[in-house]
Homo-oligomer: 322 residues x 2
């Protein structure tokens, strides 16, 4: 069994060997190479390789599917960045800003088909299972993105709707990365579903934690600047939690958001969150979804030492940069 870093290096090596066409099609494929070279933790394909190894020492057989899942993830980032008009991603210019919107749309489309080709590079007897998992996940991710866009225009959102959105948009991909790894590793259907649940709940916990970090994180370790979500008036777990309070508090929150973007607004909203105990309730939510992830991993037939590796992975992912 390899370390997370060894898996990540395998992914990076395989990504550098993708060997996409150039020449007359350079305008289509260069943006894909640019997007895929941004680095990062590669947590999704690492989870696929790790699960394939845990169930059947099948990481080498899972590398193409793992790449496909990472390509899919990057396709969604490119199209999301167009939709959100984001200019920076992982410290670099986004694809539609570096090239143009048409390129971002078309190279993204190409990545979705490339991803499907890569995840299909599995033995015939599991092709349909893997393909179905992948396509069902993709639909969930689009539905999640649709809910996310809808929420940005809505005045009131239930906390359960918010959780459903991040479950689809973030959780289902992590769940599917684990599930496809499990299928390739030869896991039983029951174990594959438990691994899906592990990835899904870890993904939800990760996203709530990310929302928390954006306001309450340590600026020296968080990587992004603190308060970005407040300045961009993003509908986060914290914001949606505050919306559930009585009318006076919601009124105060909306007033705080009338302060122009900057430190004064960030401080005003943060103080309101603290007063409402939302920093604590968000942490509780992270623990709640983490526990569900741990319950899922404990329910698999994996030996204890393997379970422990997944617990540590979840801890590393969710408990990062406190």
């Amino acid at each position: 069994m390899k370390t997370l870093d060894e898996y990540r290096i395998e992914i990076e090596t395989a990504l550098r060997a993708l060997n996409l066409p150039g020449g007359k099609f350079a305008n289509l494929y260069s943006p894909i190479e640019y997007a895929m070279s941004a680095g990062g933790k590669r947590i999704r394909p690492v989870l696929t390789l790790m699960t394939a190894d845990a169930f059947g020492e099948k990481a080498p057989e899972a590398i193409k599917a793992a790449l496909g899942l990472e390509i899919f993830h990057n396709f969604t980032l490119i199209h999301d960045d167009v939709m959100d008009k984001s200019e920076i991603r992982r410290g670099r210019t986004t694809v539609h800003k570096k090239y143009d919107e048409n390129t971002a749309i078309l190279s993204g489309d190409t990545m979705l088909t490339l991803a499907t080709q890569y995840i299909s590079d599995v033995p015939d007897e599991i092709l349909r299972k893997v393909l179905n998992s992948f396509n069902e996940m993709a639909i969930k991710v689009y539905e999640g993105q649709q809910l996310d866009m809808d929420f940005e225009k809505r005045e009131s959102i239930d906390l359960s709707d918010y959780i459903e959105m991040i479950e689809r948009k973030t959780g289902s991909l992590l769940g599917t990365c684990a599930k496809i790894g499990a299928i390739i590793g030869g896991a039983s259907d029951q174990d594959a579903e438990k691994m899906y649940e592990f990835g899904l709940q870890t993904g939800i916990a990760f996203q709530v934690q990310d929302d928390w970090l954006d306001t309450f994180g340590d600026p020296t370790t968080f990587g992004k600047s603190i308060g970005g979500d407040i300045n961009n008036a993003k509908k986060t777990y914290l914001y949606v939690s505050a919306l559930q309070q009585d009318g006076e508090i919601v009124k105060a929150l909306k007033e705080a958001y009338r302060i122009p973007a900057g430190d004064v607004r960030v401080k005003a909203v943060t103080r309101l969150y603290e007063k409402l105990g939302i920093d604590e309730s968000a942490k509780k939510a992270v623990n709640h979804f983490s526990s569900r992830a741990l319950k899922a991993i404990n329910g698999t037939s994996l030996p204890e030492e393997e379970k422990e590796r997944f617990r540590k992975l979840a801890e590393k992912l969710i408990g990062r940069k406190k």
Copy 2:
């Protein structure tokens, strides 16, 4: 064996029964229903059903794959319309104009995954073959669209480059519709490839004919207004043919395009095309690619009466609205 119209009605009936999710996901799926209800000849899925029947009376088994190919076609139209900023498609407001660009991007993405799900609804033993054909075709279509966008910015284009573009953008999908129908119908690999060739060459002939009709067609039967390509300065087969002439003629052509869009420009460019014999050379090109399509169909093991049905289909498609 059914008539083209009977197949088309089967497709329309199946499309009406798609039963996409509504409710909280209406903003994602309504645009898909809108796009899919535009009607048209449904030539692509009809070709799939007809080929499946010709080789094995398997049209009922091919209906899902046929729908998948039609959904894929409409996905490309939606994203192309965003990229080209087109406002009208088949006499109706385009998706990104009726809704917005973000919706067009995300609903388009969803359609690509739905298409993949539909074409995968074939028996296990042919799943990989069908899926590979579909994915390879999709990549060709994106590459064709990229070339098309590149050409719009380029001063000089070879005629062979133009043909390669429409081969990818239009031909490969028709080829794949026939090929997947053949695979489902139980055709040999050789017959399936011949059917691909038939669809491919028919598609190229169709596109060159479409370019010709836009300038030289009969306004009472063409359906679109004559001269639209000239007014939009589109790089068509006619325009690219003129570019191959000597410098003086290219100069005259570019001068004619300096006339503001309208009847005067259309007449000036049309007269130049006629003077250069480009109306005749385009017709010859249509015949050239049609002959290749007929050669392909004649090379299959289909009985003569089946071959005749495909010849008539090509004739109807290419020779339309003269």
